[in-house]
């Protein structure tokens, strides 16, 4: 019950701030928390990235191994994305197989990488129908202080951009950098009152019913979207979010991914 009461108090507080055009941590509505991105921290992974988005911390590791292609795409490599909401990251995470939040997170990260065409799957074919490179993208949440979607997506593309295909290890020639053809960036916003708030922290996420994640590519088109949470959103808000999302994504891309 106290949770419910606290939630109401917090909601009131944040709601009143928003009416004054403010946020609890002093950010503008469309302002991101500080982003710190480090790549190559995990020597045993073929690509890795640690993303700090404010206090949120996400580690993404990429492993690349030869394996069998799917029977319906014999000449294409395979991308497998997984997300672990390990109990060290939040009091509300529990051990066990991924729940629907983890599955949704992994699938939205996967959607960005896949639909943007960032990875040329045909270039990952070794022998048609027999052997292709399989790319495992594993998202490991370390500290959930909100907006896991953006932190995880940024970590995934950063890890891929710095990944090496470990060909030598499997007697398939020399190692070479994984070719990455596009740079999808996810941006997430919540709506409460009439305000649209980007990069929500956990409190803001808990107050808003619904989030919208927009994934944009380097040329400014949209390659993935996901509304998440038990609320509704107006069409007008969707287009406002998409407009700002394109700008923020461009800034993040230029600043952190050097394109």
């Amino acid at each position: 019950m106290s949770d419910v009461v606290m939630a109401e108090i917090r909601k009131d507080y944040l709601y009143h701030l928003v009416l004054k055009g403010e946020r609890a941590d002093g950010r503008r509505f469309d302002e991101y928390r500080d982003i710190v991105l480090e790549t190559g921290l995990i020597r045993k992974a073929d690509g890795s990235a640690l993303v700090k988005l404010g206090k949120t911390q996400v580690m993404v590791g990429v492993k690349i191994q030869p394996g069998e292609p799917f029977s319906d795409t014999p000449n294409k490599g395979v991308i497998i994305t997984n997300a672990e909401l390990v109990p060290l990251a939040s009091p509300s995470f529990e051990p066990g197989p991924p729940n629907e939040v983890g599955i949704e997170l992994a699938r939205v990260v996967d959607r960005g990488v896949r639909e943007s065409g960032a990875i040329d799957l045909e270039a990952l074919c070794i022998t048609t129908g027999e052997k292709v490179w399989i790319i495992f993208i594993d998202v490991h949440i370390l500290d959930d202080c909100g907006n896991l979607m953006d932190a995880s997506s940024l970590g995934a593309i950063a890890a891929l951009m710095t990944a090496k295909v470990p060909a030598a290890q499997y007697g398939l020639g020399e190692d070479y950098p994984l070719p990455v053809k596009d740079v999808p960036v996810a941006t997430t916003a919540v709506e409460f009152g009439d305000a649209i708030i980007f990069d929500p922290d956990t409190d803001e996420e808990s107050v808003a019913d619904t989030k919208l994640t927009v994934i944009t590519t380097a040329d400014g088109s949209i390659c993935g979207m996901q509304k998440s949470g038990p609320g509704s959103i107006s069409q007008d808000a969707i287009h406002r979010i998409v407009d700002i999302a394109c700008e923020r994504a461009k800034e993040i891309r230029e600043k952190f991914l050097e394109v």
Binding site: M1, V4, D72, E100, V101, I103, E104, A106, R107, R111, R114, E115, S116, G117, D209, T210, L212, T217, G220, S221, I222, C223, G224, M225, Q226, K227, S228, G229, P230, G231, S232, I233, S234, Q235, I238, H239, V242, D243, C246
Partner: protein, 255 residues
């Protein structure tokens, strides 16, 4: 199967491969109250999709720790029959169906008046018997009608359909081949008032194309809403008027 480099045209003489215009839905058939044991149920066909939805509840929550003191919880299970697709699907939940279940539940929750039934659960089960692109939207449409059939107080119905992009053109309610080989897919769900409760997108669209896709999908939802409404009115119009009035009054209070 069509070769990857072979360019397939999705339009012939200005219409789509199944003869539809780009702003036309596939044929829809809805039957309400098709299951005897369920509190509410609905069978729906959207083109070649065949889905059946059942609603149980409000009823006691098991396991008990999921109970909410101030409201009912809503659960939604989307499940595909192993024979519903071309190549047999392994039975049971997978990652895709878990995600579909989550977003579908969240598409319906905004209209269910959960505060009327604290500590209880409304269970929605959707079985896909035959799949042909758009099963999640068909499932949501059927579930919405089944909720109404179960007498669950709601602010409104929810209607759902997708828009897609094929051959550079925005089309309503893509069928399987358009979905598989098309450039984008945007499923939405909305209230009759136009509030969007489901929005997903994959593929590639410009901002302008996205706007046109959402506009088109909304127009599709409005058509579906009229069918859902008609089916329910036909089914229940014989009821005693005072019972209907009472239900309307109850719903009106909350809003």
């Amino acid at each position: 199967m069509i070769g990857m480099d072979e360019k397939l045209s999705f339009f012939k003489d200005g219409v789509r491969l199944d003869g539809r215009r780009s702003d036309e839905l596939r044929p829809i058939k809805i039957e309400v109250g098709v299951l005897a044991r369920a509190d509410g149920s609905c069978y729906m066909e959207m083109g070649d999709n065949r889905v059946i939805a059942a609603v149980y509840g409000p009823r006691e929550v098991h396991p008990r720790h999921l109970q909410e003191v101030t409201r009912a919880i809503v659960r939604y299970r989307y499940n595909m029959a192993s024979f519903s697709v071309e190549e047999r699907k392994r039975p049971g939940p997978d990652r895709r169906s878990n995600e579909v279940s989550k977003v579908s539940r969240e598409a319906l929750e905004p209209v269910v008046l959960t505060s009327y039934f604290p500590k209880s659960v409304v269970d929605i089960f959707v079985e896909v018997l035959q799949a042909d692109a758009g099963t999640r939207t068909a499932g949501i449409n059927a579930a919405s009608v089944a909720l109404a059939d179960a007498g669950i107080p709601m602010k409104s119905l929810i209607s759902s359909c997708a828009a897609g992009k094929v051959d550079g053109e925005i089309v309503l309610d893509p069928m399987k081949i358009e979905d598989n080989l098309g450039e984008a897919d945007v499923p939405i769900a909305m209230t009759p008032g136009g509030d969007i409760t489901l929005l997903q997108m994959d593929g590639r669209l410009t901002k302008d194309e996205l706007k046109r896709a959402v506009d088109l999908a909304k127009a599709g939802c409005r058509q579906i809403y009229e069918i859902q409404r008609k089916v329910l009115v036909d089914r229940y119009s014989h009821m005693e008027p005072e019972i209907c009035d009472e239900a309307v009054a109850m719903a009106g209070e909350e809003i």
